[in-house]
């Protein structure tokens, strides 16, 4: 037994869970799938006094399509998102991204809310949420609040989540059927943490001009990075290779990758520029009815 001793509680409702959270504060940790938490507990980097198990709370387990949005409960397992027909229809970018999370044996336990709250800057779900300007629904005993990725992610592994709060849902926009999209991730081995990953969505009008661009980059910044300057650059331009080449250079001024065991900052920057170019090309290539 490697983790330190803790008390285990298994609330039967979100309401009961929030009571525990407000009672125990930062001495408690929520466990859902445990695929990020248990490794850090096994290494004793985290030693909570109380573990609140929400993995059986059905009220957090749902995928709903409402108007222009998909609502996904925080307790929904990654495998259920991966195999959801709603996700396949309304946000296939999310499905493509989620397949890059660890391995299938991880996704059978790992949850959406867990990955969002863990806040790893190389993780896929925070990246998709940031790139698509989705929202994170956070609850405590008193109130419900919606956060953008920008508000939620403060720095590496640090979020705005207070000890008495939990992530109950994420809200993602539905992709337009006319949109082209791409998710590209580079890893040392399949299933490893991303060295760099890029999510891109493009919409192109009948004049062959880009009308909408969403681009996010993971693994190369302290938080999931939204490439706003690149997005602005693309609007009104033709989706050509040279456009994409110039656009990808735009990220160089503000992206701040770090050096670690797996790659230098310089390498990550080069990789981010290259993968951005490829993602834009791929997204443009699968825009419905695009003139190529």
């Amino acid at each position: 037994m490697k983790p330190a001793t803790f008390q285990y509680v298994r609330p039967e409702s979100v309401r009961e869970c929030l009571e525990y959270l407000s009672m125990y504060g930062d001495e408690a940790k929520i466990i859902a799938g445990g695929q990020s938490l248990i490794p850090v507990m096994n290494m004793r980097l985290s030693t909570p006094e109380y573990l609140i198990d929400i993995s059986r709370l059905e009220e957090l387990n749902y995928i709903r399509h409402e108007g222009d949005f998909l609502h996904i409960g925080g307790g929904t397992r990654q495998i259920d998102v991966e195999t959801s027909s709603l996700v396949k229809t309304y946000n296939p970018l999310l499905r493509d991204a989620i397949r890059h999370i660890g391995h299938s044996q991880i996704r059978t336990r790992g949850t959406v809310g867990g990955s969002i709250s863990h806040g790893d800057p190389s993780a896929e779900l925070p990246l998709i949420l940031a790139a698509l300007r989705g929202e994170i629904v956070v609850v405590d005993e008193e109130e419900t609040a919606n956060y953008t990725a920008d508000e939620f992610y403060l720095t590496t592994l640090l979020t705005a989540l207070e000890p008495q709060q939990m992530v109950s849902e994420i809200v993602l926009p539905v992709l337009s059927p006319q949109a082209g999209y791409a998710f590209i991730e580079e890893t040392r081995r399949q299933g490893d943490f991303a060295l760099v990953s890029v999510a891109a969505v493009l919409e192109i009008d009948s004049q062959n001009l880009i009308t909408k661009a969403n681009v996010g980059i993971g693994g190369a910044h302290e938080v999931p990075y939204v490439a706003e300057e690149l997005e602005e650059y693309l609007i009104g331009k033709e989706p050509t290779d040279s456009t994409f080449e110039k656009a990808s250079e735009e990220i160089k001024d503000s992206l701040e990758p770090e050096t670690d065991l797996h790659g230098t900052a310089e390498y990550r920057m080069d990789l981010a520029v290259e993968l951005t170019k490829r993602a834009l090309r791929q997204a443009a290539g699968n825009v419905e009815g695009a003139l190529q």
Binding site: E12, E27, Q105, R189
Partner: protein, 176 residues
């Protein structure tokens, strides 16, 4: 709360952690077992140390190597990334469930043996359980799909090609 889970001390000032064993009941390889465990006991340790099912191997104990893969509620999971208390009421299958009680190997195990898909054997239980779950749901995969599905299991005797050969042979023979 479920009946079998004890309520913790409600007094938040009481930091002393008493013995807080929790009674759990689960089905392992078709047999119902009931034990009192500390919440911090990993499911993998529970299987090995409480039930003596030492076929489930522990490599990294943080979800990277896949040696501890088991099948829970008909899905493959890492047993080192779950606490035994969390499996209360669930159905678990370990590598011991594959061969008969007399020790006759099942078809997949036979194919591993025939194709030299193991050398030291440390990773084998994880590969077998990953593949057992996958092949239940995808009876005739391509080589590429098999490579993808075993990407979450590490073999350091470099046996991957032979493992893929074993699976392809097994699925081919099974469908004949």
């Amino acid at each position: 709360m479920e009946n079998s889970v004890e309520q913790p001390q409600v007094d938040a000032n009481d930091h002393k952690v008493q013995s807080n064993r929790v009674s759990i009941t689960l089905t392992v390889n078709g047999k119902v077992v009931n034990k009192a465990v500390e919440p911090r006991m990993l499911l993998s340790d529970f299987l090995r140390e409480e039930l003596d099912l030492t076929g489930t191997h522990l490599g990294c104990e943080h979800g990277v190597c896949g040696a501890c893969t088991i099948i829970m509620n008909n899905e493959s999971i890492r047993s080192c990334l779950m606490f035994a208390v969390q499996a209360d009421g669930y159905d678990i299958k370990t590598v011991e469930s594959l061969a008969t009680n007399e020790g006759t190997l099942n078809g997949l195990q036979e194919a591993f043996s025939t194709h030299h898909a193991l050398q030291c054997g440390f990773c084998t239980p994880g590969f077998l359980m990953t593949l057992t779950d996958y092949l239940d749901k995808n009876p005739s995969p391509t080589r590429e799909e098999v490579r993808e599905v075993i990407s979450g299991n590490l073999c350091r005797c470099t046996g991957y090609s032979n493992i893929v050969d074993a699976v392809m042979d097994y699925t081919k023979n099974r469908s004949m």
